[in-house]
Symmetry: C3
């Protein structure tokens, strides 16, 4: 299996293509079908939580399934679920009725400022139904009678999520979570699902210092259910990332955890800083994705959120324009690469102390320093050696040192490894 | 009684008009007359402290009263106290003499760079006398003899100040202090006297959580005398504002207390921030008004200072141009409104905790959240709900939350009230 | 002896002229000759540490001396040590050989982007030899045979450094350290040697509160040797400055100690701030001069580094263009003046408390305040009085007060002296 960025990007893109047509929701067969497809790549366990189960303040809702839906006029389908599953408000109750346009109108949703796009709307927690359609179509509807059908069921069933733990040397866990409940939307969130699969593959491919827990779950109710079932073990989660919207061409953005300065926040800030994206690191806000739940005050887990353009900030967000054209292999591969760099820091970050902290050691006789000296600029690697030697005092981790030195983490880690090999530093 | 901003502004302006002609000083009948006028609106108690009383490092001075003053040449008054009480240096000793221009000259004060304005000068603590006049007039004075008269008295009497406590539910006090010792100057400080009267009226008009203490006193010696007489009870003062220069058209400015981060500082910074005046919040400096005394190191009270353009920064400061044209009803009303917003925060700021802090509660079934979801932007009110739910952890007050969320305090307080009504949060 | 800045600058410049031709290195006669010249002005003690002595991780190297060196072609010297001692890589092993250009080439160093300048290169810790020459000359060398001679010796001897303690009232020491190991380079570091001499003269000329220790030593190995020999007494060093590159026309630059907020860091930041050079205060970096050793984690001494344009940032750095044209009397005098201002703060900084901290004292009756008041701007001196009175609370030193007030330290110190004389404050 290749890890060449281009191949990787292509593979992630193809998965998104494959899953794009499926009509997912927070429960139901579309969600299950998606998770089963994930199982072909990653051995996730599928959990089913029966409708009616209490999870903290919430109750698992009835399972929603839909077979077809349309609006007909004069025997002709003018809005058709088969053309786009976005046409139906998710969790719409079943309906089969003849209505005037005036009666139908409160059930129709469109985007006046984007007249060709279909919006994405949900009604999980209110018994109602509706159709989404382009504003252009809505505007063209003549007065008169319409045949309306939503062939859906809301019935006792279960909520499904997928979970996979990849054990590492330590039981300390990194949580990687993505939501899998959106219908035909590509960036939000098939992109992150594809990236998470590749991260899981990578975690399984070689021994790791940390354990990795991957969650593929419906937004909000899914993470709340998972938190409710795993409350006793949350202490193991030392770092976490919610992944979303990782396939479009915008720059990577990191939203800090509620704590603001957790290790994952510092690692992500370092990685974005190295890429010249320091201004794309943002403070925590209590809306967005499942970090809302992980970072609720009762848990306050060290979980940040990585996206490219964040939710709500790209015009295609929650519309039919979040389609296969919006995402591309290259940004997918870049997102994957960004996450792996963050994880590398979490894996490798350590504190060291000098074996003898008095003065600088003589690097030259250990082959760590150039022979003839005096040039105007010290090579970056020698700078990294000096920084590690100066800050190996048990108070600065390698990431602290890289931050302060303005040097790439990988270079500082390489310098530390060389100094360790020469017994000039030891782990604190 | 109206609290319509326009009416309020007009009423404050009319009071300034009424009191403008009175010749006030740090003692004397002009000061008493002014405080008696305040008593018509607010039940302040007048305190009289006899001349010679020691108050910390100071001694209450003899009482100064003045009846008339002039400079005559050839039987004609060329400088006349009756035309402007600024013509006489405040606390001038009596004088009645014939003098040459050369002898008189050291006693004359003018503003060369503002040749038409009369400066305001004082000599409270040095036995001397003087006249202030326009530079144009000074320059035109021919050599020769002048008749000079200051018909003043400096004699044992007392220093007067006014005080009023409006009790609230708590004995914790908010101190509102303004100086009342300046003669015919409108902005400095009849403007703040007028605002303070309206604040006192408001405090008396309905039950309040906090108690409010209003002080109308001569600058420096007045606040020192008050501090000396109330030293044992200063612990009750939890917040305070010195008010000054609140009637001109410049933007509101807040000077922090010496502590820098007292609740009143944070509340004022929030209110100015909401108004886009974040840059008008300044650090404490040990000159200005009576905050100098309240914030001296022996007391270090949490007292800031609110002005529009601060003392010394508007050209009319301490001149005859600080007159009825400089102040206007609209900025007076805006100043009043600004203070009330600060006080509202001090009244309403609380810390809350979530009833159950695990995950978000389901707002939809409590009618706190819209039915059909998915739109690009969350309404501000729903954001406020989420912020309160996330930061109701006993470490963040509502004002902290509003600051961090970048939302108006009133909206956050409204959200908190709604969540409290649904038992989702409780007071910490 | 004059301390007029112009005379002082001239005297420092003349010393640089005198010492410029000497071929210094980290050991040897050139270094000794330089230190003996220092002894004519300052009673430094010369320490000799035998070759082979272990100092922490290092060993004192054999002593290096050089008499002559050249490259000849066709009987003609084309590179000649007598023309510039930079031509020989410092610590070159002796060589006497006929070589082809191809054989010689790896031993030749030049600056392609500065084709007329000779670089400065060293090989202290690698047994090798080499020549430095202009790139223009290097490029012009024809193929063929060359006679190469370096008439040097590397033999047991000693490392020399100079030290002088000027005792003050307290045994707390200020360390002033400069390196003296560079051959014909004027700015780096004869400039700092000249400044250090004048500072020592000044320290000896009048009683001081602090003791001053001056070190003239070869870079790196010199400071390491000194640290190794004085390890038990390092606690006495309360402040320190490494001086270097103080003669060119660039603006003064201060590099903080590793601690970042030591008294010397704050004092230097204040002095540079007063001069409008606040942006020239930089964070610590573990390369540069002997602050690398003083600030190694085992010592972490409060030692900053003062330069004009820092090492590596002026094009002439470590080249033959760092000559007598690069330095000038005026910047030398300005550097001296900057250091003395920093030292004055260290000498005079104190914490005070108010005798009675309640309210402001009445300055007028003590003659500390003007008689007739009311003018728009308070004189700076009166501001300084108010600031000291407000912050004399045992938590703020005079330098803290000057920083916060944005006033010159000297003015604040003068105000404190006046208040002390009137018993309004006392030392904390």
């Amino acid at each position: 299996m290749t890890s060449d960025p281009e191949d990787l990007g292509q593979r992630m893109y193809r998965l998104i293509e494959e899953l794009y047509p499926v009509c997912r929701s927070i429960t139901g067969e579309g969600l299950r079908e998606t998770l089963r497809r994930v199982q072909r790549d990653v051995p996730i366990l599928l959990h089913e939580i029966p409708s009616g189960t209490a999870v903290f303040d919430w109750t698992v809702p009835p399972e929603w399934n839909i077979r077809d839906a349309w609006i007909e006029r004069g025997g002709k389908r003018i809005v058709d679920f088969r053309a786009s599953n976005l046409h139906v408000v998710s969790y719409s109750t079943p309906v089969r009725r003849r209505m005037t346009l005036a009666e139908l109108r409160p059930h129709l949703f469109s985007l006046p400022d984007r007249p060709d796009w279909i919006p994405y709307r949900t009604a999980y927690w209110s018994e109602s139904w509706g159709f989404c359609l382009s504003h252009r179509l809505l505007e063209s509807l003549p007065e008169g009678d319409y045949e309306v059908c939503i062939d859906s069921t809301l019935a006792p069933g279960s909520l499904t999520y997928g979970e996979c733990l990849v054990p590492g040397a330590s039981t300390d866990e990194v949580l990687i979570s993505c939501h899998t409940c959106h219908p035909s939307l590509a960036n939000d969130n098939l992109s992150a699902l594809a990236v998470a699969i590749e991260l899981a593959r990578r975690a399984m491919s070689e021994p790791r210092a940390l354990s990795y827990r991957f969650l593929f779950l419906p937004g909000t109710i899914g993470s709340i259910a998972w938190l409710a079932r795993n409350e006793a073990d949350l202490g193991r989660i030392k770092h976490g990332l919610v992944l979303s919207c990782l396939g479009n061409r915008g720059p990577v953005t990191y939203k800090r955890s509620r704590r603001g300065d957790a290790s994952v926040d510092r690692a992500a800030a370092h990685v974005l800083g190295e890429a010249g994206l320091g201004t794309r690191v943002r403070a925590f806000v209590p809306y967005g994705y499942d970090e809302r739940q992980y970072c609720s005050p009762g848990f306050d887990l060290p979980v940040g959120c990585l996206t490219r353009t964040p939710n709500g900030e790209f015009p295609e967000y929650h519309t039919s324009a979040d389609n296969l054209d919006l995402v591309a292999p290259r940004p997918l591969a870049d997102s994957y690469e960004t996450v792996t760099r963050i994880l590398e820091i979490l894996e490798q970050d350590r504190r060291y102390v000098r074996t003898d902290p008095r003065g600088e050691p003589q690097l030259g006789r250990r082959g760590l320093y150039q022979g003839v000296a005096g040039a105007r600029q010290l090579p970056q690697y020698e700078l990294a050696l000096l920084w590690v030697l100066n800050l190996a005092d048990n108070r600065h981790s390698l990431r602290d040192i890289a931050d302060r030195a303005g040097l790439p983490f990988a270079l500082v880690a390489e310098a530390a490894a060389a100094l360790l090999a020469k017994d000039l530093i030891r782990e604190a």
